[in-house]
Symmetry: C2
């Protein structure tokens, strides 16, 4: 592996992850989940965490290549097997209030050429096994953050035309810019940026829109919001009262759509990488909240399998607004990685909704959350529709409306 | 990482590990424990295991560098923290009768320069936490095997005078030779070799010696054996009835010394790598089974800390005989890795004894095992005394004796 990041840059990134991302407190245990290929960042995060007073840093490693070996060699009737200890360990860790760093750096086309039915079986089984852990994440039971780091397979997918020798360093430069590592004091820059996003969420919370309307090329979609929805963005606060920033980078504010009130159609503005397969140039029609039709130039079968995961996978769990001019959008890159692409453009998510996006949501059980209009599913998959020609309007309960975004940019 | 092993050799090694080492049965789950640096072997073992019918291959990865980061950065009062889930997971896996592959490839001098007290604290805490898993291993609750694979740090320690570019491939050649991968049918060669070791163990079992006497340069030591001791070697049989080969390579036969009957002194014939520190050129005196004095040209403080781990760490748990002309000895290399060095020379172990080495041992609890003369400890650390000038005699209960080895070689 080439040394594409300088030790100084790497440690600055690790410090932002530890001090801003999970806001690690002295005496906490830190859990890191990461692919083997991100070892340099894991070691830097470990160093940063001990310097910040971590009592212990525990790492659960993954090797994405083993997933490929399995699909190539394992008996078809064994594909529902999972490593159940991984989500159990994560859940126990979060339930104790200790922070989680997830480094997500999947090779976007890893499973291209594998039997999609087999891929889908393994993903569905993993999602089911992960539910106790994902529920705790979505409740913000403890501080958590998702970050990324260049790997050869991912960098090649983002920068296919660049010389192979420069792909990793160019992707790293893009990540460093979107993560504000080029600022004189990255930790301070993040604190300021998070405040700005929180101010925007506060504005939207005052409006009390009943729905949002998206219009743009190939898109004419109304998304109803639950009655007591809360806009979130920038930082969050864990159940134990610790402020943290769950995604680095983050440029979005987001809230909870009503699972039964999406009508119209939308066209994707960016491809979606789902479990090693790319879904691109797709249109989804919604009727009364549910996907009623879809088509995709690439990966249509994968998209269909995704929405068939369970009943909630065909309904919306998140609506998020991002200015088209965000630092991520400005890189001009297609990252094929939701963490970045969702921060380049306004987006929706199929699947489970965030309890933190409805008043008193964290104290509701599944049934109560669903009764409020919150969506339940084992999956939560973001997909992008925002672009520089997208308009968004806020619609009040009396059907009057006002502009929220014009040409992909905020009007306030 | 250079590609120092050809895919064919690597797959042959993986097949020996899966088919001879743990003798994987269709439908079993396989657990692999390995350092990140051995990823090529882990992937080959995974492929081989699925081809042999594994239902699922689960891997618990370790990064030895994180241990170093911790010693450099973590607060001194946090060093007793452990990743308790690792031994818990291993224990649950073994208790279900499913096989375990451990790939051991530590950099011998990783912790050189670190505070030995701190190193010892982390090792002791890890050993304590691992006891439930090590107990199941020592009882052969399920098939298990320890194997190794070249890493840059290890290869540099074994072949310090070789050009850096050739260290990995030279170490790999030595491993391939000692693991019989150069035979036309390595799996068949292993089956034959294991039978030969088992025949030697059967011969020793018929003799019913009360003790062994070792004499050689710097060594004059009598080691008492427990009354119903059993010599083992080559293969073992799991509690579920599956034959397996717990070490690759293996050239030893071994049994259970009496924890109270070692008297005399021994001088090491090879260095001992303990938790990242090298202990070399040492002499240990025993009196009534217990270490009564010791000195070492290097690592004396580490050796003292080892025997102070718990009361059993200062007594013997294993005595093993290996011909000085074994394939491992013939490489002429000092591996600084017990898996190899213990198969180059006769040796003893400080710490816990193997229940399988006394009649009905697996059905005894700790108290009963100790009453038979078996030693109890959280550690089990082999150290070598055998060499080409070592004589070993078997001593009967009536004090008569006969030759077992002369000049490091078997007399039968």
């Amino acid at each position: 592996m080439q040394a594409f990041s300088s030790p100084t840059e790497l440690q600055a990134y690790a410090d932002v992850i530890v001090r801003v991302g999970v806001n690690l407190q002295t005496g906490q245990r830190l859990l890191v989940r990461a692919d083997l290929q991100t070892v340099d960042l894991v070691r830097a995060v470990t160093r940063s965490a001990y310097r910040a007073g971590a009592r212990f840093v525990d790492v659960v490693w993954n090797d994405e290549q083993l997933g490929l070996v399995r699909l190539q060699e394992a008996s078809r009737d064994s594909l529902e097997q999972v490593a159940a200890w991984q989500p159990q360990l994560t859940a126990a860790h979060l339930a104790a209030g200790d922070p989680l760093v997830s480094i997500y750096a999947a090779t976007p086309t890893l499973f291209a050429g594998q039997d999609p039915e087999a891929v889908s079986t393994t993903l569905r089984a993993a999602a089911r096994a992960s539910k106790p852990a994902s529920d705790l994440v979505q409740r913000n039971a403890a501080p958590w953050v998702v970050v990324s780091y260049p790997t050869p397979g991912w960098a090649a997918a983002v920068l296919p035309a660049a010389p192979e020798a420069s792909q990793l360093s160019r992707l790293w430069h893009a990540i460093a810019a979107t993560c504000r590592l080029d600022q004189p004091d990255p930790v301070a820059a993040w604190q300021q940026h998070v405040q700005a996003l929180e101010a925007r969420a506060a504005y939207m919370n005052e409006r009390r829109y009943a729905a949002l309307h998206f219009s743009g090329p190939g898109t004419d979609l109304t998304v109803g919001l639950v009655a007591d929805h809360l806009w979130a963005g920038g930082g969050a606060v864990s159940e134990g009262g610790i402020p943290f920033v769950p995604n680095l980078p983050t440029e979005e504010i987001f809230t909870l759509p009503h699972h039964g009130r999406a009508d119209g159609f939308m066209r994707s503005s960016r491809p979606l990488n789902y479990g090693g397969e790319l879904i691109d140039d797709f249109t989804i029609h919604f009727s009364q909240g549910r996907v009623s039709d879809l088509s995709a130039a690439r990966g249509e079968a994968t998209l269909r399998r995704l929405i068939e995961t369970d009943p909630g996978a065909a309904r919306l769990g998140e609506v998020a607004l991002v200015a088209a001019s965000s630092p991520v959008g400005r890189t001009g890159l297609l990252f094929a990685n939701t963490l970045f692409d969702e921060n380049a453009a306004s987006h929706l998510a199929l699947g489970n909704g965030y309890r933190a996006c409805v008043r008193d949501g964290n104290s509701r059980d599944d049934e109560q959350f669903a009764a409020l209009g919150g969506n339940l599913s084992v999956v939560h998959v973001d997909f992008m529709l925002g672009c520089a020609t997208m308009d968004v309007d806020g619609i009040y309960a009396d059907d009057s409306s006002e502009a929220v975004m014009r040409g992909g940019e905020w009007v306030f």
